[in-house]
């Protein structure tokens, strides 16, 4: 089974995630898109591991998942603290620092 469909899916997911980061205003959704990007990379890693026949990619995917989980913890804490302060989770509202 060729790897191309998987890789294409991975690329599409990555692009969707990137575009989502650029276009969505809700901080939680933006973060979800970042997670989407990370998972796209996971998919790519696993696919390549299958292609090359060694396990490095799969091991990497595990690590990435753990790291992503830790990131979620931190990220949500930050987003929640902002939400509690401003009563809004919009990333555009946080623009006091500019120019």
């Amino acid at each position: 089974m060729s790897a191309t469909p998987f890789l294409m899916l991975s690329a599409i997911l990555f692009t969707i995630g990137a575009v989502g980061v650029l276009t969505r205003r809700n901080a939680i959704v933006v973060f979800m898109c970042v997670e989407l990007m990370l998972n796209a990379s996971n998919l790519a890693l696993i696919t390549f591991a299958r292609v090359h026949g060694n396990l490095d990619g799969q091991v990497a995917a595990f690590f990435v998942m753990v790291v992503a989980a830790a990131e979620v913890v931190v990220g949500l804490a930050i987003i929640v603290s902002i939400f509690r302060t401003r009563r809004s989770a919009s990333v555009d509202e946080a623009n006091l620092l500019k120019y």
């Binding site: 901080a27 973060f31 990007m37 890693l45 490095d56 690590f63 790291v67 987003i79 620092l97």
Partner: protein
């Protein structure tokens, strides 16, 4: 089942050289211990315990690093049995390579972190840079009550130690996966630390959010690039990768390289990945800004060195043009936009972008000169910038009832500082001159080394651009000096907080280091050169 049993029988435990990892373990272990102590100790003991633990861990780590320096460096290069230090994981390819450049960088990080800890441990009510309760909503009664009660957020130091350990691994990483993990390890605590400022909490939280979102975006880019490189070379290990890449670079590899570079350049603060730097540096608590500006740069440049000169060395022709474009853009944007800034932290942030550009010019020299000059520059810059931000932390506002409130960061509030606090103004002048690259300061020696490396690699025009950008940059450095000494102070809103012993000590150490590295740079330059001539592939 038999497959698993067979695999279990053949299981080869990795050969881990714990000695080489001892400095990292010291810091990491202290961080974990700190978190545990945080939970177990009664409130009045926590502060002293954490401070003592952090300082002890850093000092022990430094001692271990010097012991390691005396041992012969790891010999890497091709796949084969390696030397005495830093062997890890199966086979012969190392996940963490503790060679001389890594030792130098790790020691730089630890020393800089020691100074950073000094700036963070002021605990008297006005001088504490951190909020009493990170989870409290700014301006709420809960926060005021916490402040009255004199609560102190002591988890700051374990977080710092976690970040330091992440940085230490980041500079010694031998494969892309370790790089990613270390990148996240150093970034996550920093995201949190940025949001913990005592005053102007809105700005602080905004800085934290921006850093987090953009940082995770950058890490995601990095990871995808790593995945592509893995796909092209069948390995994540840098050593093996460089072997495979010698046979050419298909489009997959080029894309992967660009994405990996994007992630690393994001950490460094290079154009076009620099947009977070001004906002985050301005919003974060000043000691954290100093720490970020100094230590993160050391770590990020160390990782860049390793990835470019070691892993992607055969692809020199691919990434050199990229670096050149980025370097020019970074130097120009950093120097030029800083001219129109009115907030001193933002100005220093743009100046740190400019400095990143200067260091990038050395990276185009894929030789020993490039490595040694980069090592020296990040160390010298680390001291200077840490000292500068520590001084910024000392200049505070005074409200109508003569209470000392937040930092006075607007440039106009710095007018006439030379007359009111001559020593402080003098030291800050020293830091400004060092950043401008005036001779007899560390900045000059560093810039000279970096530009000579670029010239020796045939990129003389790049050095010229660098010198021109430095000339433009001198303006805003001198503007602060002129403001301090030759301008009349406005309404008396600024004051200097004297008697902050730890911060003052950090400032003094930074100043001494700046002068020493400028007047007698030879010992450190020798160390950097020794580090650079280690078998490193570059």
């Amino acid at each position: 089942m038999s497959v698993i049993a067979a695999a279990a029988a053949d299981f080869q435990a990795p050969d881990i050289d714990w000695g080489a990892l001892a400095p990292v373990i010291a810091v990491l272990g202290a961080a974990v211990l700190g978190v545990i102590l945080e939970a177990l100790l009664p409130r009045r003991l926590r502060n002293v315990a954490q401070i003592g633990l952090a300082l002890a861990a850093l000092v022990v780590s430094l001692v271990l690093l010097s012991v390691l320096w005396a041992k012969p460096p790891v010999s890497v290069g091709t796949v084969g049995p390696a030397g005495a230090v830093g062997r890890l994981t199966q086979g012969m390819n190392l996940s963490i390579m503790v060679d001389r450049p890594a030792l130098f960088l790790q020691a730089s990080i630890v020393v800089v972190s020691l100074l950073a800890v000094l700036t963070m441990v002021e605990r008297s009510r006005d001088a504490d840079p951190f909020t009493p309760q990170g989870s409290a909503v700014p301006g709420s009664d809960f926060e005021n009550a916490s402040r009255q009660a004199g609560l102190v957020q002591t988890e700051v130091l374990p977080l710092l130690l976690l970040a330091v350990s992440g940085m230490m691994v980041f500079t010694a990483a031998g494969d892309l996966l370790t790089l990613f993990v270390a990148l996240e390890l150093l970034s996550l605590p920093l995201y949190i630390l940025c949001g913990l400022a005592r005053r102007r909490r809105l700005l602080s939280q905004e800085a934290s959010l921006k850093y987090f979102l953009l940082g995770s975006f950058g890490s995601a880019l990095f990871l995808f690039g790593a995945a592509l490189l893995y796909g092209a070379t069948a390995t994540v290990n840098l050593a093996a990768m460089s072997q495979v890449l010698q046979s050419g670079a298909p489009l997959l590899v080029v894309t992967g390289v660009v994405l990996v570079l994007a992630g690393l350049l994001f950490k460094v603060g290079a154009v076009p990945f620099h947009a977070w730097t001004p906002d985050v540096y301005t919003g974060a608590p000043t000691p954290i800004t100093g720490f970020m500006a100094a230590a993160t740069k050391i770590a990020a440049f160390g990782a860049l060195l390793r990835v470019l000169f070691y892993g992607l060395a055969p692809l020199q022709d691919t990434w050199q043009p990229v670096l050149v474009i980025v370097a020019v853009a970074t130097m120009v944007v950093g120097s030029v936009v800083a001219i129109v800034q009115a907030d001193i932290k933002r100005m220093l942030a743009y100046s740190s972008i400019a400095h990143a550009g200067f260091i990038l010019t050395a990276l185009v020299a894929v030789q020993e000169a490039g490595i040694s000059s980069t090592l020296f520059y990040v160390l010298a810059y680390g001291f200077t910038t840490l000292g500068a931000f520590a001084v910024v932390a000392l200049v505070r506002e005074r409200d109508a009832r003569n209470n000392i409130t937040g930092e006075a960061t607007h440039l106009s509030q710095w007018a006439g500082l030379g007359r009111r606090s001559p020593v402080l103004a003098g030291v800050f002048t020293l830091f400004m001159l060092a950043m401008a690259g005036i001779p007899l300061t560390s900045g000059f020696t560093a810039k000279f080394a970096v530009f000579s490396a670029a010239v020796s690699a045939g990129y003389a025009w790049l050095a010229v651009v660098g010198v021109v950008a430095s000339a433009a940059a001198v303006f805003f450095y001198i503007r602060v000096i002129v403001l301090m000494y030759f301008s009349e102070p406005a309404a008396d809103a600024t004051t200097v907080v004297a008697g902050r012993p730890f911060t003052a000590a950090a400032v003094a150490l930074g100043a001494v280091a700046t002068i020493l590295l400028g007047v007698v740079p030879a010992p450190v330059l020798e160390l950097a050169r020794t580090a650079a001539t280690a078998p490193f592939g570059g």
